[in-house]
């Protein structure tokens, strides 16, 4: 315990830890956004065109099943980057997130009430406008659930990446282990939990903002 206080009291450690936290957040959340942006059109197309659907879902399943650590390692060969390049990590996790989110996008669009869509078309909405202003908002609750899971997943994956040297809070674990010193590890665990919690709360808050009509309901339920 007093080791922990000593560790945290040292300003150099504080700076280092803070920077690792920032890097970790960046490495986890940027791919989250990119993955979501990629998954939306892909999922939309897969839901709309029957022939694409099976193929897209199968491909995303495969991408998602491949362990991310393997992706971190294999991608450089394809991208020409180094393993530890931030770009490599971001691309790998973005692919991962996209693969994870395609399914919720499809499910969310599947679950859209048909009569609402028919009404909007009857009112004169063209496909793109309808997609953006009617389908997307209604799909948000189901999507949000998937995004929340993806966020925890990414945060966790970045920390595992420390095994091969990826930056972020995982480095506290490797540092602590190598020096047989507990405090960094404890701090790392605590901050990872805190980061996951904060991101989750932010996502829930955003969800509530985006879907004011859900205000009375207890939870957001998926179409599963």
């Amino acid at each position: 315990m007093e080791d922990l206080v000593k560790y945290l009291g040292n300003p150099r450690n504080q700076d280092a830890v803070l920077e690792l936290l920032v890097v970790h957040a960046r490495l986890a959340l940027v791919p989250l956004l990119l993955g979501l942006l990629a998954a939306l059109p892909i999922g939309w197309a897969a839901q709309r065109y029957r022939r694409l659907r099976a193929m897209v879902l199968g491909a995303s399943n495969v991408m998602y099943t491949v362990p991310s650590l393997a992706l971190f390692v294999i991608l450089p060969g394809l991208l020409g980057t180094k393993i530890l390049d931030e770009l490599n990590v971001v691309v790998a996790l973005a692919i991962y997130t996209a693969a994870l989110l395609v399914r919720p996008v499809v499910d969310a669009l599947d679950a859209l009430p048909g009569h609402v869509l028919a009404a909007s078309t009857a009112m004169g909405y063209r496909p793109l406008r309808r997609a953006l202003t009617v389908e997307l908002p209604l799909a948000v609750p189901v999507l949000a659930a998937g995004v929340r899971v993806a966020s925890v997943s990414n945060i966790s994956l970045v920390s595992v990446g420390a095994l091969i040297g990826v930056g972020g809070l995982g480095q506290l674990f490797t540092e602590g282990f190598q020096n047989s010193y507990n405090p960094p590890i404890v701090v790392g665990i605590a901050l990872t939990l805190a980061l996951a919690l904060v991101v989750d709360l932010l996502l829930v808050g955003t969800l509530r903002l985006l879907t004011p009509w859900q205000a009375g309901r207890p939870t957001a339920r998926s179409a599963a």
Binding site: L69, V73, S159, L172
Partner: protein
């Protein structure tokens, strides 16, 4: 890079013998199976109980979510420092913690997915609580339960590379050793083998999951038809289960 990778993978010397891929695969699978089995011993009864009685859901859900956010590497390094490096315990415990949330979610979601009218009727015809659980709820819950197990297996297979970091075996060994000596074909080879292992296990478990769907449910058509594959089929892979979306995380 790829020709070297291919050479490395096709060289039998890398497969057989002490420290060869076959041995590493066996170790990797051993950690996975024990961790998932141990997690299931805890998570399946708890998930079934919470789903069946409807009580304790908030507590258990909170617990599962907290476990999900725990960084496995952190847990394992901390425990290893406490209980000694090269001990299997910390690794198994860490991987077990990783496996609990998906299994818990799968069991819970499975029981919750049973038609409420059927459960009411089961009580009404005179089944005891126990009989209701085993004769009606569990058989119908099997696909989602297995989906949870499937997700857990995949998570653990992916993360069991961590074992090598604290001095044990598994496919993490060639990965980390190769990194240390910048033998990239070895690193990539290990990565490919892990990926293939994960894919094969997923395929196999997907088949089991399909096989376990009661015939009466398979015949039900419509959006609830358990004919979907992919990360989300019946509790799907890893972290993402319908349970997550349906409220276990809300």
């Amino acid at each position: 890079m790829f020709p070297q990778l291919a050479d490395w993978l096709t060289d039998p010397a890398n497969w057989t013998g002490d420290g060869g891929l076959l041995q590493r695969i066996a170790e990797h699978l051993r950690y996975t199976i024990i961790a998932v089995f141990g997690a299931a011993l805890f998570a399946v009864p708890v998930g079934l109980a919470v789903g069946h009685t409807g009580r304790g859901a908030t507590v258990v859900v909170g617990l599962a979510n907290a476990m999900r956010a725990l960084p496995t590497l952190g847990v394992i390094t901390l425990l290893s420092l406490q209980f000694g490096v090269l001990k299997v315990g910390p690794v198994l415990l860490g991987l077990g913690i990783l496996a609990v949330p998906p299994i818990l979610a799968g069991a819970y979601a499975g029981v919750q997915s049973v038609d409420r009218a059927a459960v009411d009727a089961a009580a009404g015809v005179g089944m005891t609580s126990w009989q209701r659980l085993w004769k009606v709820e569990v058989p119908i819950a099997m696909p989602l339960l297995l989906g949870g197990l499937r997700g857990a297996v995949l998570q653990v297979v992916a993360t069991a590379t961590v074992a090598a970091y604290v001095g044990l075996g598994g496919l993490g060994r060639p990965l980390l050793d190769g990194l240390r000596v910048t033998d990239y074909p070895r690193v990539a080879g290990a990565a490919v083998v892990v990926a293939l292992l994960a894919l094969l296990l997923d395929l196999g478990l997907a088949g089991v999951q399909r096989g376990v769907v009661p015939r009466g449910l398979r015949l039900a058509s419509g959006p609830r038809s358990p004919r979907r594959r992919g990360p989300f089929s019946w509790g799907g892979n890893r972290l993402v289960e319908p349970a997550d979306q349906a409220g276990i995380r809300s």
